[in-house]
């Protein structure tokens, strides 16, 4: 499982091939330094989840090298330890600030927006200073150079990002809204900035920039789906209490509502669970205040569907079909799910193994997350809890997952939600791919043709004018 979608962010997030890269074997937060500012910077770095992307599987923390798969090739995270030869040890505060908030690295070249600097741009000067203190004094320098990123033309022209930034980067730090509470402002600052919620949860326009009009209204990451987290009671999480949201961000689970999986489980595991209760409450307050975004296809909250159901009477004493693809929904449920989620989908008595009804996993119209969790399971890397749910990618065929998925949505979730064999095949292969390289080259060719046409037109015009000028009789 990769860190891909959450971080690949602005340009490429929607196209990232999630499953291609290895897991992050990040350790917990680094030991705190004595200085209060360094400690505060550490907290902010955890909130920003820097380590998740800037640590290779099995590698040293923050030494970079994690390949973030994109349709145009892997973007390798960089060494952001204070190593002078391989990291950011020589960075001035200004250079650090420009990298984090403007996407411009020390040598003046542009970063790819796999780095979520459009969100980090919200950071205050004081917080950037604290993070700088942490990166310079609280992080062990690691002298190792991760693999360099080499994207194909035209993406290898980093300057092209300058134009994109001009259009889509709001590089002004967060300004508190005096009409709102201190708590709301803190929540807004974190959610829009460091915790970069919108990177995944806000849909993007054709230039892959977030659509402000649809903030946090839900977006596909290619494999996993980041749902609508606006306060709409049917399409979003309007029926969640503030405490539900805090529980979810702290533990990855809001009992009776849903549990974090995929990139969200990673965000909780690596970052959110380390935030203070006050900060999590602030984020919840803010999330409950943003404009609700309703989709008329949603008639009920995703976690308000389904009820206990069992359908085994016809199974007992009968042989399974020889062809595994012919297994029925109840047979598959009996074989692969009932062990933990119990015979009627009710989960364990203490909620440790969640029920499948009243669960966003089965209640969303978009079934990508249901398929993804059946394929990949849920594993937490850093808190020691490890496997929360085993994945079944090796054991279940595309047909079996489709049959099972439809059984689950039919009886425990949103009956209108469907899983198809093609969908499973696509998700298993890493999600819908778009040939961005080809697309951009075609676009550039068109632009080139237009530019040439314009030049030709101008030249002709000038020539004509000159011709007119010369042909006109002198006064």
């Amino acid at each position: 499982m990769s860190r891909g979608p959450r971080a690949a962010g602005i340009l490429l997030a929607a196209l990232v091939a999630l499953a291609a890269t290895q897991a992050v074997a990040a350790t917990g937060p680094a030991p705190a330094s004595s200085s209060a500012e360094v400690q505060r910077g550490h907290y902010l770095a955890v909130a920003g989840d820097c380590e998740a992307c800037h640590t290779a599987p099995g590698g040293k923390p923050l030494a970079g090298g994690l390949p973030i798969a994109t349709p145009v090739g892997p973007i390798f995270s960089t060494n952001i330890t204070p190593s002078k030869q391989d990291g950011i040890g020589d960075y001035s505060l200004q250079q650090f600030s420009d990298a984090v908030r403007k996407g411009v690295r020390g040598d003046g070249k542009h970063l790819y927006p796999a780095m979520p600097y459009t969100a980090y741009a919200q950071l205050t000067d004081a917080d950037v200073r604290a993070m700088y203190a942490y990166f310079m004094h609280g992080v062990q320098p690691v002298d190792s150079r991760p693999t360099q990123t080499h994207l194909p033309f035209p993406f290898n022209i980093r300057l092209s990002m300058a134009a994109w930034n001009l259009l889509f980067l709001d590089d002004k730090p967060f300004k508190p809204d005096p009409g709102q509470s201190v708590e709301w402002n803190r929540g807004a600052y974190l959610a829009r900035g460091l915790t970069h919620c919108s990177t995944c949860h806000t849909p993007r326009n054709f230039m892959m920039a977030e659509k402000p009009s649809h903030a946090l209204a839900g977006a596909s990451l290619g494999t996993w789906f980041a749902p609508n987290i606006t306060p709409d009671p049917e399409s979003g999480i309007g029926n969640w209490t503030q405490q539900d949201i805090v529980d979810y961000l702290k533990t990855g689970s809001a009992p009776g509502k849903g549990q974090a999986a995929g990139p969200m489980a990673e965000a909780v595991d690596h970052s959110l669970r380390h935030l203070s209760d006050a900060d999590l409450s602030a984020i919840a307050v803010y999330l409950k205040s943003i404009p609700a975004r309703h989709d008329s296809n949603d008639t009920r909250a995703a976690d308000a569907w389904g009820k206990p159901y069992a359908d085994f009477a016809g199974l007992r004493g009968k042989a399974l079909p020889k062809d595994p693809d012919q297994m029925t929904g109840p047979q598959l449920y009996d074989a692969y799910c009932a062990t933990c989620h119990q015979d009627r989908g009710q989960g364990s008595f203490d909620g440790g193994l969640p029920p499948l009804f009243h669960n966003t996993a089965t209640g969303h119209r978009n079934t990508d997350n249901l398929v993804m969790v059946m394929l990949d399971g849920i594993a937490w890397r850093t808190d020691g809890s490890g496997v929360h749910m085993p994945g079944f990618a090796q054991e279940l065929s595309d047909q079996q997952i489709a049959t099972l998925g439809n059984y689950l949505t039919q009886h425990f979730g949103n009956p209108a939600a469907m899983v198809t064999v093609d969908q499973v095949r696509t998700l298993r292969a890493g999600g819908a791919s778009a040939n961005l390289v080809l697309l951009v080259r075609v676009l550039m060719a068109i632009v080139l043709v237009i530019v040439i046409a314009i030049i030709v037109a101008i030249v002709r015009m000038i020539a004509r004018r000159r011709h007119r000028t010369t042909s006109q009789p002198a006064p």
Partner: protein, 547 residues
């Protein structure tokens, strides 16, 4: 993909020992081919088959039977594959599928106690092992770290480093045994390859209580996990490859093995080295089957000991109703036991033993009893609840001594492919029976301490078998008395190695798998030593883990 016909190392049998040996060698860059007589199976389908079975207590019932790779089955009736020559029945069970018999073990992963390897010197019974417990310690540790083993520290088996993890939470029933039997008996957590926490990508036990016939969530280590690791390391597995002959060349080296596919087409596979890991019955069967004019008694059989010294663990038991609700069935099936009788001067007179408490749900057994008794209606419901809450059971796990006349031979009967079936010659001697008698005093005392009523002892002289097939390829330094040397290498064929419980010279009192795995790891180290640095780093990693 065409099936390979040659490899550096050819492994016969894909059980936990063969697969882990294969994995280790593949990791070192050798080409490894695993030949497995049975088919691949899928965990979920076994779970579904178990749930659908009308014979929940028959742990073979969910597993497929393959006519080309028959396995002994006794329910609903004996299928006659393991021919019984007597005088005492030996109804051994094993599964011939990719991954082998640990598909349905209870994951008990015991070490020996140090004196187990010296019972001839100390007590003048059985034989001594050609290695010491100290030599085994590091291999036990490596095996325990691969399998993910937890257990109590006071079971009589010393260790230099801690277990990789804490035991699974103690079930209520076991807690009550522990509390009520103290101080007369120390009830401690069994040493098991079962996850109390997420380990090596496998989840923690969630207490389904169906360890046998199948762990539905992959929380206990199985042979199939070893197969997965071996394949990930580059080993190739050929399922449905029924080896029927091992071929030695003129110099006595093994040159090839021959196997039938299910259509009885014969295939020949060559290799530089061969590992025989087909369990304590099929392995000697194969050596005996491979007899030629030059080796009229079969391969590796200069000593005449191939197939001899067959051992297992017979058990007698006591079932009773405790005077309180214990509700067996929550948590794993075999969580706790009493280990204070595993060694002592008494071993000169009678068998050592462990006392094992079952934690298997009693609902099925009690239901069958009530139906047999003709109880129905409201009385049935009331009785079912009362008995299922209170019924419990303690059994002994008795040591048996190696006797050459207890053995596996080739039967005159043939299986579907025309291969002779194995034939078991077995008896239970007075040494073991005396041990059983002594342990019955413990049974009585335990029942008394638990306020037991309705005491039902297993029938006198009747023993249940524990499927810990041991012996038949015994290790020893004297080539005229033992099949394999102290590293599991055949005394007669320098490139033939045996991995599995068969090489164990004695059976002691513990489930044999972990010892067999430790010995197998030691065997492959002997075949292909790791670079010193690798070994050191492994040792250091182990030390760091345990620090």
């Amino acid at each position: 993909m065409s099936t390979p016909t040659s490899a550096d190392v050819v492994v016969i049998g894909s059980g936990i020992c063969g697969a882990l040996a294969a994995c280790r060698l593949a990791q070192q860059g050798l080409s490894v081919l695993i030949l497995e007589a049975g088919p691949r199976i899928d965990r979920g389908r076994i779970v579904a088959a178990f749930r659908n079975s009308t014979r929940r207590g028959d742990w073979m019932s969910p597993y497929p039977f393959s006519p080309w790779a028959p396995q002994p089955e006794y329910k609903p009736r004996d299928n006659g594959y393991l021919v019984q020559a007597g005088p005492y029945p030996y109804p051994a069970e094993y599964i011939r599928v990719v991954g082998g018999t640990t598909w349905h073990w209870a994951a008990q992963a015991w070490r020996l106690v140090p004196n187990d390897v010296r019972i001839k010197s100390l007590y003048d019974v059985g034989v001594d092992w050609p290695i010491t417990y100290d030599e085994l310690d590091a291999w036990y540790q490596e095996a325990e770290e691969i399998l993910g083993v937890a257990g109590a520290d006071n079971t009589g088996s010393p260790r230099k480093h801690p277990f990789p993890m804490q035991p699974v939470a103690e079930p209520w029933s076991m807690r009550r045994f522990r509390e009520r039997l103290a101080p007369a008996y120390a009830v401690v957590a069994n040493t098991v390859a079962r996850n109390s926490r997420s380990y090596d990508g496998r989840p923690a036990c969630v207490g389904n209580n169906s360890c046998q016939p199948i762990c539905p969530v992959n929380a206990q280590y199985l042979g199939i996990n070893a197969v997965d690791s071996a394949e990930a390391a580059g080993a190739k597995v050929v399922p449905n490859a029924v080896v029927y002959r091992i071929e030695a060349d003129a110099k006595g080296r093994i040159a090839a093995v021959h196997y039938y596919d299910p259509d009885k087409q014969s295939h020949r596979v060559t290799g530089k080295e061969f590992i025989l890991a087909a369990n304590g019955i099929e392995s000697p069967k194969l050596l005996l089957l491979s007899a030629t004019d030059k080796y009229p008694n079969g391969l590796a059989n200069r000593s005449g000991m191939v197939g001899r010294n067959l051992m297992d663990h017979p058990s007698s038991s006591l079932t009773f109703y405790a005077d309180e609700e214990l509700w067996l069935g929550r948590g794993p099936q075999s969580p706790s036991s009493i280990n204070t009788m595993r060694d002592g001067a008494f071993r000169a007179q009678h068998a050592a033993y462990r006392l094992d408490f079952t934690n298997i749900s009693q609902v099925n057994a009690v239901t069958e009893d009530l139906i047999r008794e003709g109880v129905y209606g409201p009385a049935f419901k009331q009785q079912l609840r009362w008995r299922a809450a209170r019924q419990c059971n303690v059994k002994n796990v008795l040591e048996v001594l190696p006797h050459p006349e207890n053995r596996i031979t080739l039967s005159s009967e043939k299986d579907a492919l025309g291969i002779p079936k194995p034939e078991a010659h077995y008896s239970i001697d007075e040494y073991t029976r005396r041990g059983a008698d002594v342990s019955h005093n413990d049974f009585a005392k335990i029942a008394q301490l638990m306020g037991g009523t309705g005491l039902r002892y297993s029938l006198d002289g009747q023993f249940a078998n524990n499927q810990h097939i041991t012996g038949t390829l015994g290790m020893g330094n004297d080539p005229t008395k033992f099949v394999t040397d102290g590293f599991g290498r055949s005394h007669d064929h320098e490139n033939l190695f045996c991995c599995g419980t068969g090489v164990m010279p004695t059976a002691a009192t513990m489930n044999s798998t972990l010892t067999a795995v430790a010995l197998a790891l030691r065997t492959v180290e002997h075949m292909h030593p790791r670079q010193a640095t690798t070994k050191e780093s492994v040792a250091r990693a182990a030390a760091e883990t345990s620090a």
